[in-house]
């Protein structure tokens, strides 16, 4: 499975819509175990993506991911900017090879996040959404329930990376805000893929 340019663009545009619609919700999640600005930061990134696409329409999927990465890196700040930015930058490079499957592309994005954040699964970070989704896609059983389960799994984890890690045991019982924004990303992807099936 691969995404054509119009599908990939639709994916990112749906993600942008979800980020804008859920800015307060992400801020609230982040207030519980972080510093309360994840929604504001991602919203700034979302607007930057829209501006970037309007300024120069991406000519191919690699361009599109690169523009997404740059908007995130330059406008989001915090940890999320470099993490999403690295994921999409690595995906932009990888997708230049025409034979790459979507599942492998998502794995490359997840690996980029792991590298930049020196993180792995079970640390209560966005990796806990990206990795299960990459795994599910490889087995061809990717749908919204996979996204929901991955997101929910972060609730009972104790954070060992990022700002929530300062809370230690107290970080339990809350969804990870970065996992929630990543869930929006992959719910958007399900929507795009669903339209085609």
């Amino acid at each position: 499975m691969k995404l054509e340019l119009n599908e990939a663009q639709k994916w990112i545009e749906l993600f942008v819509e979800k980020l804008e619609a859920n800015k307060s919700e992400l801020n609230e999640l982040d207030t519980a175990i972080g510093d309360g600005d994840h929604g504001t930061n991602m919203d700034r990134g979302a607007k930057a993506i829209t501006e970037s696409f309007a300024k120069k329409a991406p000519e191919n999927v690699s361009d599109l991911y690169k523009a997404t990465a740059f908007a995130m890196i330059q406008k989001v700040g915090g940890a999320s900017g470099p993490l999403y930015g690295t994921a999409f930058l690595d995906m932009s490079k990888a997708v230049k090879s025409e034979n790459i499957e979507l599942a492998d592309l998502i794995q490359i994005g997840a690996d980029g996040i792991k590298r930049r954040g020196e993180s792995d699964i079970k640390m209560k970070t966005m990796i806990d959404v990206w990795q299960p989704i990459a795994d599910a896609m490889k087995q061809d059983n990717f749908d919204k329930s996979v996204v929901e389960d991955a997101l929910d799994s972060t609730k009972d984890m104790v954070a060992t990376k990022g700002r929530a890690s300062y809370l230690e045991e107290k970080s339990k019982g809350h969804l990870d805000p970065g996992s929630q924004s990543s869930a929006y990303l992959f719910e958007s992807l399900v929507d795009v893929l669903g339209e085609n099936s």
Partner: protein, 330 residues
């Protein structure tokens, strides 16, 4: 929430603009960024290793207020409590590099570390020599592999002062990084909050404390601390913090430096009362304080609270802390 602001989105650019307009003899804004760089005559006349710091806004005067002769060469301001982005840090590095390399002073938060790391990679691609030191002076956080590690808080101001003085005196990049690391290793801080900060984009305090409660061990971004207790007299607060911090030093001989830092919403009057108690107790414990300073240096928006930083220092560091500087905020 009541704040003297316009649009929440414009807070950082408008703050930088105001800071630059009122201090144009000291700093100028780097075009298309929210970074400021030295604008004094000595900056172009005296070649030295560049010293760049930065981080989320809301901690003023840190970092832009410490730009000037004898301290930082440039500072990069991110959004409120949010790391600045790599492109902005990269511009600041470019603006200060005089061919001798640039030292980056980063507070230990995952976002700051990642963004400065990306900027470092960008600058190195331009053959600019870069070294990074990461400040982690907050001993209220356990330094284990199960957390991000200790946070960088008020001690950062002392690190920037000593490293800035050494850079002005002509120290090379490698030695500056070593000096900076050694200063960090000997600097310990704990903070307390009486009232949490209100992030403008959020609109309400980051956590709630009852009228008679304080929280020990808070961070500078509303990170919760290690315990909530009833408020006590300044003397008892000083005792609690000194006891926690001095446990961290095996060797209590030699000189120490002390910073009593206001978190933004605590009057200087209270800070001096606390300082009086701190210095009295250290004196009665036989601790030789060679340098002390009181003030709002590393704030957390409108948080009511205070932090105590104690550094084990030698004569050279003490004299570097005492050297005059020309900055907005030291």
């Amino acid at each position: 929430m009541k704040k003297i602001i316009n649009n929440v989105e414009d807070i950082v650019p408008e703050m930088i603009s105001g800071l630059v307009k009122t201090n144009s003899d000291l700093v100028k804004q780097i075009e298309d960024t929210t970074a400021v760089v030295r604008n004094d005559k000595k900056f172009s006349e005296n070649k030295q290793v560049g010293v760049v710091s930065g981080g989320g806004s809301g901690h003023e005067p840190l970092h832009a207020g410490f730009v000037g002769d004898g301290m930082l060469s440039a500072a990069v301001a991110g959004e409120v409590f949010t790391s600045p982005t790599p492109d902005q840090i990269y511009e600041a590095i470019n603006a200060v590099d005089q061919g001798l390399g640039v030292l980056l002073i980063v507070k230990n938060y995952s976002g700051d570390v990642m963004n400065f790391d990306m900027a470092k990679e960008m600058a190195e691609a331009d053959d600019i020599k870069i070294a990074t030191i990461v400040v982690d002076d907050d001993i209220s956080v356990k330094n284990s592999e199960f957390t991000q590690g200790k946070r960088g808080v008020a001690g950062t101001a002392l690190v920037e002062k000593i490293v800035g003085a050494a850079a002005r005196s002509g120290m090379n990049l490698d030695d500056l990084a070593k000096l900076g690391q050694s200063v960090i290793d000997n600097t310990k801080t704990i903070g307390i909050a009486l009232h949490a900060a209100t992030v403008p984009a959020v609109g309400h305090p980051g956590f709630e404390l009852k009228d008679d409660e304080i929280e020990y061990g808070i961070g500078i971004h509303n990170e919760r601390g290690y315990s909530v207790e009833k408020i006590q007299h300044a003397k008892e607060l000083a005792h609690e913090l000194i006891e926690k911090i001095m446990k961290e030093f095996d060797d209590k001989s030699g000189k120490f430096a002390v910073l009593i830092n206001g978190m933004g919403g605590t009057p200087l009057m209270e800070q001096y009362i606390f300082a009086n108690n701190v210095l009295d107790e250290l004196q009665s414990d036989g601790i030789d304080v060679g340098f002390s300073k009181v003030g709002n240096l590393v704030t957390s928006l409108d948080m009511q609270g205070i932090s105590l930083t104690i550094m084990k220092a030698d004569d050279d560091w003490i004299s570097k802390l005492k050297e005059p500087v020309t900055t907005i905020g030291w």
